[in-house]
Symmetry: C2
Subunit: 293 residues, 2 copies
């Protein structure tokens, strides 16, 4: 890791703040670039500035001016609406490549953005490289454990999520007593959990032994360095409202935002929190990045 | 087709009524068996009776007493909650087979139910065999046609639906400008369209050329004779509320409930209605059923 400041490109949610705090705790300087539309009052505690998608030249120059060459993408990024009349010279040059990637799914868009940064001399770092404590571990993560019926639901939900991942869609699936009640789309995991919560109870049945599980796993080939599946306190709150028995993630390739609070909430609400072992095991990307500079 | 009455096992929705009317128009007698929980005030115009899942013996005997040997399953069936203490002798004998199938997905459950009826000497007929006018034809079905961008969304939605079908989940998918906004789960197509309608407009973007499409296709190997994907006036109303450009179904393996009204609504609301050609073409099951005497 560099002695130079680390650049954090901050999207929505708590992850960028968690990464920035983690850096400060280790005495590591950061420069935080706030994406348009992101509420980030916390950023005033750090060296930070707002960025526009249309002025990539300004972004690159600012990072370089602060001797930042390691870049972390952290937090949810909403697909931007571009205003081409505001493009600076750098963005104009990159526009054909960037715009072409937008219609090709999230993975491809992120991959192209990563390439653009790499071509500029930056190295993309995963949030979990900067803050390894965020990475989910395997097995039971809180007080409660999944029962046999929950494990069967986890297996079924994983099978559906994998089928979806193959067509670059969704990361999260809800299954209860073998029946699929929710599949994540663009609206995200929390919106999907609210949809499940609104389901007619008559349709769900009244199983007390298989109340349902949320499984959230990466897509095959997902750009884990820039976009790792994440759960946090909100996930637990919404899973509880949806009447689920618990939440399962893939160990080593999922982020547990605010682990302490997330686990405490799961314990309190009676939900299990479970880290699955990938089969075959996933190599968490840590040291395979092209190092430049 | 038999001169004897046709047995209609009536689930929810307009399909059983449409099938019964179609029979009457042709001078074909029917006996309608109403599933528990189904609102079917229309059934008073036909020879009809209510059935309980727990008394299959009564069901079989009643059909046989009316010399009904051709059975049509029509309308949505909610997964039943059984009361084993009410089982008659016949149901008790069939319970192991039936209950085992319930955990194995809709297709397998329907297949087992079909087998049970066949073993009893009945022949399962598709609603489209009794009322061929219900079958969707190919190409543009109303006044409006999908544009190039809509066709790209149809292709993407079909790809996602096929990936899901492979794991026996969902039949309907919404895609707008390449982005997946909705995937059908147990709650059904209309619930999914309401979820899409509730999507934050900022997330959807403001594309006027690719407003989004609903694609509804059968799962690979779906039991089309007992459960064919269907759309009707409600589908069009909910698709319009969700801001979509149109609806695409698979020709020859989808039912168009109340075709006249469905097409008129699509025309009025500016939505296209499109019948895709299956590739490879689907053989609509019509005359392949085992005929028993």
């Amino acid at each position: 890791m560099a002695d130079k400041p680390i650049a954090i490109i901050a999207g929505a949610g708590s992850l960028p703040h968690l990464v920035a705090k983690n850096c400060r705790d280790k005495g590591q300087a950061v420069v935080v670039a706030i994406l348009p539309g992101v509420e980030a009052s916390w950023c005033r505690d750090f060296v930070s500035f707002s960025i526009e998608f249309e002025r990539l030249g300004v972004l690159f120059d600012t990072f370089k001016g602060h001797h930042c060459y390691d870049v972390v993408f952290a937090g949810a990024i909403t697909r931007p609406r571009f205003h081409p009349e505001k493009f600076d010279k750098k963005t104009l040059a990159l526009a054909p490549k960037l715009l072409a990637s937008l219609g090709q799914g999230d993975d491809q868009t992120l991959r192209v953005i990563g390439e653009i940064f790499t071509d500029e001399g930056f190295t993309i770092r995963g949030a979990h490289e900067i803050a390894p404590d965020l990475l989910a571990t395997s097995g039971r993560l809180g007080r409660h454990a999944p029962c046999k019926e929950d494990m069967a639901d986890i297996e079924r939900a994983t099978e559906i999520a994998q089928a979806l991942g193959a067509v670059d869609t969704g990361q999260a699936v809800v299954v209860a007593a073998g029946l699929c009640l929710g599949i994540e789309t663009l609206q995200g995991t929390d919106a999907m959990l609210r949809f499940v919560a609104d389901t007619d109870p008559a349709l769900r049945g009244k199983s007390n032994i298989a109340k349902g599980v949320l499984v959230k796993i990466p897509k095959p080939g997902q750009e884990l360095r820039m976009d790792m599946p994440a759960i946090g306190p909100d996930t637990i709150i919404n899973a509880a409202k949806a009447g689920l028995a618990g939440v399962a993630v893939m160990a080593k390739s999922s982020l547990l935002l605010d682990r302490k609070k997330t686990v405490a909430l799961a314990d309190e609400k009676g939900l299990f929190l479970f880290g699955m072992q990938a089969d075959p095991p996933i190599d968490t990307p840590t040291d395979t990045a092209t190092t430049k500079g």
